[in-house]
Amino acid sequence: MSVLLIAEHNNKELRPFTLNAATAASQIDTDVHAVIIGHECGEAAKALSELELIKKVIQVEAPHYENFVAENFAPVIVKLSENYSHIISSANTFGKNLMPRIAAALDTSQISDITKVVSNDTFLRPIYAGNAFATVKSKDNKKCVTIRPTSFDPCESSGGSAPIEKAEAGEEFVQTKFIKREEIKSDRPELGTARVVVSGGRGMQSGDNFKLITSLADKLNAAIGASRAAVDAGYISNDHQVGQTGKVVVPDLYIAVGISGAIQHLAGMKESKVIVAINKDGEAPIFSVADYGLEADLFEALPQFLEELNKLNTIQK
């Protein structure tokens, strides 16, 4: 049977992790259909139909789908599910909020945050903040799976020409009302997909000092990350948090500044290709995962870092 992918979008564009989820879905079964639920989301549906791995798009529209309320989305997918063996979405806040509501309605034990498809019923997933990996085999007839987007490459965004079918909208769930969304707009690369991430921790000592991180990130065309301690202290907003309960990032270069390296933070970044740690405490656990460690006062090291970068003829973007 086919696999149903739940597209994530903002009614205009697909959110990028939909492409990673499409790759994961295609490793389970090549007949991947995608459902897009939204309000006036025709453009995003068209983009979805052009993904090379998608064989069919199902578009469901109604005003009450504008803000992605899980209570409205879940019944739509439950209704479509009878034709599918697997329901797939990303394990980001969109999929984490939605998928268990679908799984419970289908009486299926969900498998969360997989990093590898072993076979169509067996998956690899991290547990204990990535300090162990479990191979799990689902015995349910219908499988609900969320995928860790950074563990799968995005599929090609062109080359497909899947037919778009419209399906009927469901009723509105009136007990939940969307009020507002405060998105932090930025010209920087997205944290989840950036090639370089510069992160600050409690060692930054203030929100104002984060401008040192910003300058370095500007120079490297990097996204800005943070430890939970820095977010809790109010130095920077929650959407920057990297770790077990924040975002998982796998950049080519991760620069951890003033971050001690609690296991909960390491869970979100230790798969990065190259890790740099700058910390004045030589015993800090972050050094145990760093490829290059610099034991130094960050308030001296960061301005020097900028100076050294200015001396280079070229910097990769």
């Binding site: 309605a105 204990y128 990996f133 309960t245 490829d291």
Partner: protein, 249 residues
Amino acid sequence: MKILVAVKRVIDYNVQIRVKEDNTGVVTDNVKMSTNPPDDNAIEEAVKIKEAGKATEVIAVSIGEEKAQETVRKALAVGADRGILVKTEGILEPLAVSKLLQKIVEKEKPDLVFMGKQAIDDDCNQTGQMLSALLNWPQATFASKIEIKDKSLEVTREIDEGLETIEINVPAIVTCDLRLNEPRYASLPNIMKAKKKPIEQINASDLGVDTTPRIEQTKVEEPPKRKAGIKVSSVAELVQKLKNEAKVI
């Protein structure tokens, strides 16, 4: 308003996890256990709401082996009024937990159910959403701020793009983020008082729920180890290594 708070006993967040040599799981013998951290935030929030005069009773419920009673007792020591322990043996998946919680909700008829957004052992992030699906109640996941209104809650949720605010009518489920509040410590007098608070024990088998696992855990392994790195002595050396050795800038 009556608030039910679900708390889970997990390996303490400071413990370095070790995988068993036979790859059947992680070592839990003689390992420090604690309340799942965001469940502490859930209890704290419920107690604060009661202290503000907006709730009449806070009930802490845990599901697990006999020792999970300690987790319930800790919730009582920070202000929950009474406890429930649903006794089970073996592995419980979030689906089974949410079905057992559904039975407790049907019995206790709370207006609100709070719990942590995720357990730090299995990292599933499912139970609250599943329970709200089973009850067909509204859900507010990843809550970092809760405002109690007359017959509803206004909840600020932490999402990947920033913050989202929703209003949900009671009865409702809220899963709590670590940033919701600062959980208090239990004082010695309150720990003593908690010993006198009632904990009702219920056998899961008496609740008529099939808790048989649907997922077989075939193997648990250590994550691949990173190769040891080097310490550099200056920023200039660091930049040279990044440019010429790692070739990432």
